[in-house]
Amino acid sequence: MSGSSVMQGASLSEVSSAMAVNRRPWGKFKEWVIETLLLLAALSSVAITLAIMFILVKESWTFFQHVPIWDFLTDTEWTPLFDNPRYGIMPLISGTLVSSAVALCIAIPVGTAIAMYISEFAPFKMREAAKPILELLAAIPTVVYGYFAFLVVTPLLQKFFPELPGFNLLSAGLVMGIMIIPYVSSLSEDAMRAVPMHLREGSYAMGATRFQTAWKVVTPAAFSGLAASYILAISRAVGETMVVALAAGMQPNLTWNPLEPAATMTAYIVQVSQGDLPHGSIGYQSIFAVGLTLLLITLAFNILGYWLRKRYREVY
């Protein structure tokens, strides 16, 4: 009985090793082909980045042949579609900054409070219930938020500020802030969770309360992670499109007052794309120049956030 099974085992291994020898050249080639294909798929992400840069720079290049870069950065009017066009990006940047600032005034305090509550205070069940709700909030399409800002929040605000125009940066910013809360809260919570337990235990052992521990121990320890989450929130707010396009209007307006209507960089891109501008016209190229500006701004924030996050990971 045992002899026959040994015999069988030997013959099996002989057969399989013979097969392996036969198969190996083809098998090795196949493995190589698969690995190369997978590598190409991974490299596609690099290709996308390069393609974004190429397209934006190529179209902006012809734009900047017509418009001196100095005028682009300093002129105070943006009227590319008028008979007498002016190409100063300042009004679009001011609209973007004001709406983003309003959004951050909502998103940062509320997002941080939620993160601190979920990470340090909430009982387990509450935490399990809260996270999916925040995730759903992040999943709502931005155009729905835009509808909400334009047709619900603005009329509501007009009850308090009767002279508020139908398009305004305030309601766009407020709704955008709510939209960004989940991004802030989830990244901030990750940062707070990454603070090692022994720091909290040490604090409790010294007789500190929950709030003292959360505020004086966990928050400073998670600081760079929190900062990273805020910076990524800024970059979200700057790049957000549909809410501002619907609720803040599409009229470029150099202003720092959130009660006024103003176009953002993203709203301008949407406005031009909606019309039928011929390919290659200066108006067509202008959206790429604005897109390039937008990309560079968000890229700077993303790199800063990435760097901050890397740093806090290395601390412990």
């Binding site: 690995e35 992400s45 409070a113 399409p141 790049g239």
Partner: protein, 307 residues
């Protein structure tokens, strides 16, 4: 200890503990703000839009009269665009994720790819629209078509699919790989027989979340060039003669649900804004169902798999 000192300490402790309560309330309030917005949004769309939801709303095309306008072109467009997006983003994203987790050596190239992916996730969606416009519409000559729109959204959700794939693969313990190698499997056999099947539910979660995001994306598709109004269905992808599949629809102009909603919202006539609410209701139910399913799937996975 003197009784007064004890009383003093008690008072200090009570004062410190009061802050615990205050902050718990602040946290709950912040959380309930999020819940209230979610509920408020839903209730508002429901009360405004629900009366418009009918069979005709789904089968009618655009119209100048709000009462007879529908989302036929929009939902068919969304379906076809998502088909292109999924067929592009899933194979590409899963392959990239598998490469990065199972094959990639630790070198500068891998580091570059990783930084790139996290960076791509932070690029504003409207910039992807500009990429689609410059690359797919004009450079590759696809025109303002379903193909160009689907490919643009595929690039947009690629980082989501890659990250989800990597996270799903990372939960598979080392012993599985070692076991497969010990039985003489080649690397690809190990990956295709073990890694991909075991991570498929996790990958599915990421794919659903990515597609739900793509369904709601508006700005990049406006930039790529959605049609203002479409009055007929695109040509069918299935036909009766050989080879039974037709790809003409890829080159046809498109509109999708969020764009239809955007156009209706920006019309001054309140009757169209009711249509926008109805379209928004369909959209939000769709995305919430998809995300809810993904969350449920992930919860099940976490609970049931014990390696």
């Amino acid at each position: 200890m003197e009784p007064t000192a004890v009383a003093e300490i008690r008072r200090l402790i009570a004062k410190a503990k009061r802050w615990d309560l205050v902050f718990s309330l602040i946290g709950l309030l912040a959380l309930s703000l999020a819940v209230m917005v979610l509920v408020g949004l839903f209730v508002n769309l429901l009360s405004q839009g629900a009366p418009r939801i009918s069979w005709e709303f789904f089968s009618n095309f655009s119209s100048r009269r709000a009462g007879s306008a529908g989302i036929a072109a929009a939902w068919v467009g969304t379906l076809l665009v998502m088909l292109v997006t999924a067929l592009t983003a899933v194979p590409l994203g899963v392959s990239a994720g598998v490469y990065l987790e199972e094959y990639a050596p630790k070198n500068w190239l891998t580091g570059l790819i990783e930084i790139n992916i996290s960076n791509l996730a932070g690029v504003p969606s409207v910039v992807y629209g500009l990429l689609g416009l410059g690359l797919f519409v004009y450079l590759l000559g696809l025109g303002q078509s379903i193909a160009a729109a689907g490919l643009t959204l595929a690039l947009l959700i690629l980082p989501i699919v890659i990250v989800a794939t990597r996270e799903a693969i990372r939960t598979i313990p080392r012993v599985i790989r070692e076991g497969a190698y010990a039985l003489g499997a080649t690397k690809w056999q190990m990956v295709s027989h073990h890694i991909i099947p075991y991570s498929s539910a996790g990958i599915l979660t990421g794919v659903i979340i990515g597609l739900a995001r793509a369904i709601g994306e508006t700005a990049p598709l406006i930039t790529v060039g959605a049609a203002v109004a479409i009055f007929s269905y695109p040509s069918s992808p299935v036909k009766s003669e050989f080879p039974f599949l037709s790809f003409d629809w890829l080159h046809e102009s498109f509109t999708v649900m969020p764009i239809q909603m955007f156009q209706w919202t920006s019309r001054p006539d309140p009757a169209f804004q009711v249509n926008a609410a109805a379209a928004g209701l369909v959209l939000i139910v769709l995305t919430l169902l998809m995300n809810g399913f993904a969350i449920w799937l992930r919860y099940r996975l976490r609970k049931n798999i014990k390696w």
